[in-house]
């Protein structure tokens, strides 16, 4: 029995009590819109039916919390170009089916390219060590939860036949973009728990201070999320927006300082394109000059400036900011299914459309 099961993070009685408290605080309120930015939060909310416990005027929407969904087509295209030229591509499994402009890495694999799924960046290092005569590229996708592992390996100077296509993004600038979109009318943030184990709380101070948005870092058990909703609603009812931490068992104010140091050692922060959101200032990690030998774009001379991010009819760009629900997309579960995804949000198990597809079909 794991630690979380032993404790009472899924206790239905506790859930009922928290839900009652939320109902009591919201009975006279207008609509409240709370945004989370983590695919795992969406999974918890959907899987455990958290929305069904909330009053009808409390809406919890999914922001751009799926790192695979926001990788622009241009970066997928670069990886495919490398694969088709004979480089061995290593990547996480959920990147495989993300649509590039014209095909996915899975399509490239079907055409004979060497594309290998790894569980960890360390698997890619091991492959490069074992097959020294081959050129390997690791497609480094992910938010702050994932970028420290890439930083660990690069800082230890892996074999030179391995290079990195760095697609890592940082999440707070995307949250700030959402907060500043007036027509979204967000009232509060559930901040991503696992990202926060790394970055700590400081980056979120801006939301209560500048945007009057209650912000609560939450864990991933159903009661964590439900209690975070309660904390946000309580702040709103008191009219005192602040930053709070519900996930104290894993998130500390300063975050994981060792991981932060490694990220700073290996990466610079640059402006970056996000699929469906456009360019967000200071949101992308790029290798520092002293690690340029590991930069796949430089080493293999590949650069795709513009890709086709969205196929006709696809509404991923609206789903990703929580403006529409997946069911409002004309392609959802018709032309676009988990078996044949049209948009990036249907690909990863953390994509909002994919999470909803599973619930709709099961």
């Amino acid at each position: 029995m794991g630690m979380t099961e032993k404790l009472r993070f899924r206790d239905p009685e506790l859930a009922k009590s928290i839900a009652q408290k939320i109902h009591a605080l919201t009975s006279k309120q207008k609509t409240i819109k709370i945004c989370h930015v983590c695919g795992t939060h969406e999974w918890t909310i959907t899987h455990y039916g958290v929305r069904s416990l909330l009053p009808s005027n409390v809406e919890v929407i999914a922001g751009p919390g799926c790192p695979v969904c926001i990788v622009p087509a241009s970066e997928v295209d670069e990886t495919i170009e490398l694969a088709m030229k004979g480089t061995s591509i290593t990547c996480f499994g959920d990147v495989l089916r993300v649509p590039g402009s014209h095909m996915s890495l899975l399509d490239a694999k079907a055409k004979g390219a060497d594309v290998r799924i790894v569980y960890s960046v360390s698997d890619a290092v091991k492959m490069a060590e074992d097959e020294a005569n081959k050129q390997f590229v690791f497609f480094a996708v992910g938010f702050e939860t994932t970028s420290p592992s890439t930083a660990v390996e690069i800082s230890q100077r892996p074999p030179r036949n391995l290079s990195f296509l760095v697609s890592h993004r940082v999440i707070p600038p995307a949250m700030e973009l959402l907060a500043s979109m007036e027509d979204l009318n967000l009232n509060g943030f559930i901040a991503p728990g696992h990202v926060s184990t790394i970055i700590g709380l400081r980056s979120y101070e801006v939301f209560p201070r500048e945007y009057s948005m209650p912000t609560v870092v939450a864990g991933f058990e159903p009661l964590d999320v439900l209690f975070a909703v309660y904390m946000i609603i309580k702040q709103l009812s008191e009219n005192k927006p602040r930053l709070e931490n519900e996930y104290t068992r894993a998130v500390h104010w300063e975050g994981n300082t060792k991981a932060q140091e490694l990220i700073r050692e290996v990466f610079d922060v640059k402006d970056g394109k996000w699929r469906g959101l456009g360019t967000i200032p200071s949101s992308k990690l790029a290798l520092k000059k002293q690690y340029a030998a590991y930069d796949a774009e430089l080493k293999h001379n590949v650069k795709v400036e513009e890709g086709i991010d969205s196929q006709p009819g696809c509404r991923c760009h609206l789903v990703i900011i929580g403006k529409i629900r997946p069911t409002a997309c004309p392609l959802f579960m018709k032309a676009c299914t988990p078996q044949n995804p049209v948009g990036a949000c249907m690909v990863s198990i953390e994509g909002t459309c994919r999470v909803w597809a599973k619930t709709v079909s099961s």
């Binding site: 979380t4 506790l14 009652q20 795992t40 994932t146 420290p148 991503p192 184990t197």
Partner: protein, 74 residues
Amino acid sequence: MCLAIPARITRIKGDKAQVDFGEGVLREVNVTLVEPKVGDYVLVHAGYAIQTVDEKEALETIALWQEILAAQKE
């Protein structure tokens, strides 16, 4: 992709550790980013322990919830 799973450290050797995900599922993970002791719970993401999980804090969280909810009933 930001999924991280709690596991208990059963053995440590250098920057690698063996962890137990429960019910005997053992795996080697990299612990460069944390400084765990045998018996600690860590959050594991893509083969790396990214943070230790404080069991005492976990218990306190539940206690706090119950306190708040009890106060409501009074």
